[in-house]
């Protein structure tokens, strides 16, 4: 019995908790991509850099607050700075929409042009971020490191395997739940949210119903800015902030959005967890887990690892291809909100 529990704790510690954390970060990112897709009808390749921009401003404000000696221990100061990061990101997307996207909306540019324009914004924002904060790694986490330490868990339960939960992991999951609940409430219960869904469902009929497209687009961008800044900051807190990794995040985020069904918020969330858990599951070494479960003489000699962690990024690609071949509309049949 203890062996089974040990195996479970081992899995929880190295697979489930990190998977849920990373999955929450991807889900929030994918939610932003999906919102833009369903309202503005293009794939926003700039999303990773918008996340990066939001995180950068959160870091700036964190430094400022740290300089003032402000602290909300045991929570990281970055949480205090996050609202300001969100505001800065909102300003960025508003400027971006006014100067870049509005022109293409008015000219009814095709989706491909929108997509390429978004790649342009990706490079510009990426450049600004690297110019402003530099390409180096920034660790901006402060506060208490662990909610539960492995040693404490061992003492508490008497098991030989420990379960450690980092503060950032706890914050990420709790924040993701709150944000997702808010988005669900907003889209399904508020007048503005419903009008966004209506606009996404049937643009012409929404116009006939007196829904103002400019307002819908603005609200969508503001939501996306908030989502991006939150997702980026959570990722940066949990790992570290390095501008380059945020560009790489684009692939798993798009994989998550497409796996769930583009344009479907529920799908984006599910997709985030699917991608994150499978990324970790196929690169995880099961040797010790199996060791607990089988008799000693059958204990595996190899690592029992499907793929080396170097191939982590390939996993999103593989999932993407499988989904596009087998069920192109994604798990939750996307297209509209």
């Amino acid at each position: 019995m203890a062996d089974v529990l040990n195996a479970l704790v081992l899995l929880a510690n190295f697979l489930i908790v990190p998977g849920l954390t990373y999955g929450s970060q991807l889900a929030l990112g994918a939610l932003g991509v999906t919102l833009i897709y369903s309202v503005l009808r293009f794939s926003n390749f700039g999303h990773g850099e918008i996340m990066s921009f939001g995180t950068m401003f959160t870091i700036f404000f964190t430094w400022l607050f740290q300089g003032w000696g402000l602290s909300i221990k045991p929570l990281p100061t970055a949480l205090l700075a996050l609202p300001f990061g969100i505001l800065a990101t909102m300003a960025l997307v508003m400027i971006m929409d006014k100067t870049v996207y509005r022109y293409h909306r008015e000219n009814k540019s095709s989706n491909v042009i929108f997509l390429i324009v978004s790649i342009g914004t990706m490079f510009v924002i990426g450049g600004i971020v690297r110019f402003a904060i530099g390409p180096a790694d920034q660790i901006f986490f402060d506060g208490t490191r662990f909610i539960m330490k492995a040693r404490e868990f061992k003492q508490m339960t008497g098991l030989s395997e420990g379960l450690a939960i980092k503060t950032t992991q706890g914050i990420t999951i709790v924040t993701a739940v709150i944000v997702v609940a808010f988005i669900w409430w907003f889209l399904n219960k508020t007048r503005t949210g419903k009008s966004m869904r209506a606009y996404s469902d049937n643009e012409n009929l929404a116009l006939l119903s007196g829904i103002d497209p400019a307002r819908v687009v603005m609200v969508a961008w503001l939501l996306v800015a908030a989502l991006a800044a939150i997702a980026g900051t959570l990722y940066g807190l949990d790992k570290s902030f390095k501008p380059f990794t945020y560009m790489q995040l684009l692939l798993p985020i798009f994989a998550a959005a497409i796996v769930g069904g583009v344009g479907n918020p529920l799908g984006a969330i599910a997709g985030g967890y699917v991608v994150a858990l499978s990324e970790i599951a196929v690169t995880f070494a099961y040797k010790r887990v199996v060791g607990y479960l089988v008799a000693e003489e059958h204990a595996p000699e190899t690592l029992l690892q499907l793929l080396s962690t170097d191939y982590k990024i390939a996993v999103s690609f593989i999932i993407l291809v499988i989904v596009l071949v087998i069920k192109p509309t994604g798990l939750f049949s996307g297209k509209t909100l």
């Binding site: 007048r191 469902d201 012409n204 116009l207």
Partner: protein
């Protein structure tokens, strides 16, 4: 002059004119029906009164006011309701949400209007929490008409409301349309089922190639041998 009238309308979507000096109108509490062969510009004529194409000549009058240069959204605010032929419901949203979106421009309490729509189409009350995309064709048309009624329009424009529904459902829909007209709303509709539509029409317009061919009461058009022979199949 009629309550809503498009007078001597000439124009089209691009450079070529579809409508040629076409006049259609409808009065409060009346049902006006536009019939004619395929490609006669029936829908175009109706859309022209709703501002969905540019008129080169002619004007549109609504309640004594010239609305020729208003956008469709602005005409909705004035009191016009339009039900497109296709894509006329929000498929991913529930019936109730569809009606709510219909009333988007209203800031007052919409509960009583929604009750009226439910009284008119009882099936919608039953299905109020179901996505409109899951309903049958006839039920969808009811949602579409209900959505347009939510603004409490003075004029309702219907583009082939019975397209693709069974004859039984068609009769049912026509009954509902008569009921709406009795509430004092002007109804202008385009119909493929010319005979049935003219039967309930106070006024009928037979269009051919974007121009008025016959204009009379529904009854008179039904009795007119020329109209019967050419457009109603004898």
């Amino acid at each position: 002059m009629s309550f809503l009238v498009g007078e001597n309308m000439t124009g089209g979507y691009g450079s070529a004119d579809i409508l040629h000096d076409c006049t259609i109108g409808v009065d409060k509490g009346q049902i006006a029906v536009i019939v004619g062969p395929n490609g006669a510009g029936k829908s175009t004529a109706m859309k022209a009164t709703f501002g969905m194409l540019d008129l080169r000549l002619g004007r549109v009058m609504f309640d004594g006011e010239d609305i020729t240069h208003l956008k469709p959204e602005e005409r909705v605010l004035k009191g016009m309701g339009f039900v497109p032929q296709t894509h006329n419901v929000f498929t991913s949203m529930t019936v109730e949400e569809n009606l709510e979106m219909g009333a988007f421009i209203r800031r007052d309490d919409i509960a009583s209007t929604m009750e009226q729509v439910f009284d008119l189409f009882p099936i919608l009350k039953e299905k109020r929490y179901q996505p409109a995309g899951e309903l049958s064709g006839g039920q969808r048309q009811q949602v579409a008409v209900g959505r347009a009624l939510m603004t409490q329009p003075k004029v309702l424009l219907l583009d082939e409301p019975t397209a693709g529904v069974s004859p039984i459902v068609m009769d049912e829909l026509f009954d509902r349309i008569i009921e709406i007209a009795r509430q004092g709303i002007a109804i202008l509709m385009v119909e493929q089922n010319a005979k049935q539509a003219l039967n309930i029409a106070d006024k009928g317009y037979v269009l051919v190639q974007g121009a008025n061919r016959f204009t009379d009461t529904g009854e008179a058009l039904m009795a007119n041998p020329e109209v019967r022979k050419a457009f109603l199949g004898g």
